[in-house]
Symmetry: C2
Subunit: 227 residues, 2 copies
């Protein structure tokens, strides 16, 4: 299990002041995760967050320009953490098939296997990522934010897993497209299993991860091994 004490460093600045560096900053991170999970991103405001923490709106604004940038930070943190966790679970495995298999398992169950110790609660953050991550890039400012490097963590994760795909079958022409589809599908199917069950065969509840893992492994290996 990876050690949370290790500090994940993001490769971009969606923040104004480094929130990991101060007590208030860390409380902003941990409480915003709880509150976004509770209220949903639309209903979440800096006012409510400030009240929850016992500080003022103005103080929160010193750390993040607006709530969208806070979401970018949180989701990027998750991508970086997931990438780290995948590497941790696969670094000593030489067979690329086994490596991809493990990577898929980590992607679908990343909220279940890490007792949290830091101020970031990965289980709750995972729920936010499932529910809100498309909102990070589906905005009119994608191109500007991409320029700023806001999606580097996702790109790195995608590239990392896509390399394993290429190691299995160098002739497969769409490794990145496959992995970006798979990353999204992992969240989407979990969401559907819970909320719109007629859109998937995956059953909701505690076993849903196994169903998603099976579906995604089947999808990935059938595609990569094709022909």
């Amino acid at each position: 299990m990876p050690n949370n004490q290790i500090n994940l460093n993001l490769n971009h600045r969606s923040y104004l002041r480094e929130p990991e560096a101060t007590e208030l900053g860390r409380r902003i991170l941990s409480e915003s995760i709880k509150l976004i999970d509770e209220l949903g991103f639309e209903q979440f405001t800096f006012k409510k967050l400030a009240t929850e923490i016992g500080t003022t709106e103005a103080s929160v604004y010193r750390y993040f320009e607006n709530k969208h940038k806070l979401l970018v930070y949180l989701v990027s943190w998750y991508w970086a953490w997931l990438n780290y966790t995948i590497n941790y679970h696969t670094h000593n495995i030489s067979d690329p098939r086994e490596r991809l298999s493990r990577a898929i398992e980590v992607i679908t169950t990343s909220d279940l296997n890490d007792p949290t110790t830091s101020h970031i609660d990965e289980r709750t953050l995972f729920r936010i990522v499932v529910a809100e991550s498309p909102k990070v890039y589906h905005t009119k400012d994608v191109d500007a934010e991409n320029q700023e490097g806001y999606f580097l963590e996702l790109k790195k994760l995608c590239r990392n897993v896509a390399e394993t795909v290429a190691a299995i079958n160098p002739a497969y022409p769409y490794p990145h497209a496959l992995i970006s589809t798979l990353l999204d599908s992992a969240h989407q199917q979990l969401f559907f299993a819970e909320h719109l069950p007629s859109l998937t065969e995956v059953k909701g509840g505690p076993q849903s991860r196994d169903g998603i893992t099976a579906f995604l492994k089947n999808l990935a290996f059938a595609t990569i091994d094709n022909r």
Copy 2:
């Protein structure tokens, strides 16, 4: 080519007053499509829409409770239209493989092959669907809205195409999961090709549809034919 004069009827009521029934209602639909495409959903407001149409905010509110419900209506309209169009292009084809192949082509190019005549501009609507459709169900009210039948059109579309998958290989255990993944991936890959190209091998620009069609056909058939 399907005839737009045919009135698509939605199976739910995300609206307060039927917008297709009056002149103002139809202008709300056509102008909101233009404006959401232009501003993005976050920046779009009923105030701006009313000004654009030359009516008042209050009048718009008589048709839709809020902008989210308007988006639900527009995206549902698209799902219903897409389902209709898929059926139109496949109804006389008996080979299920060929039927799925055509369905995938329609899904990826549905904005290119229909000169619009009605007040709904499908090309622009398609851009909205690509950019904003995840926001339709990623909300705290999914379960309540699902109860109201807000996602019936998507479910019907998914079931329809999943049946073709089952006809190709009745033993494949995840037809709905595959199709819901594929529907989403079609939009996602188009978005990535335009804005985050390092997440996909699909190239942006006019040929992007061919790349996505090839990727999705490969993905679908490899998976369905597996074993």
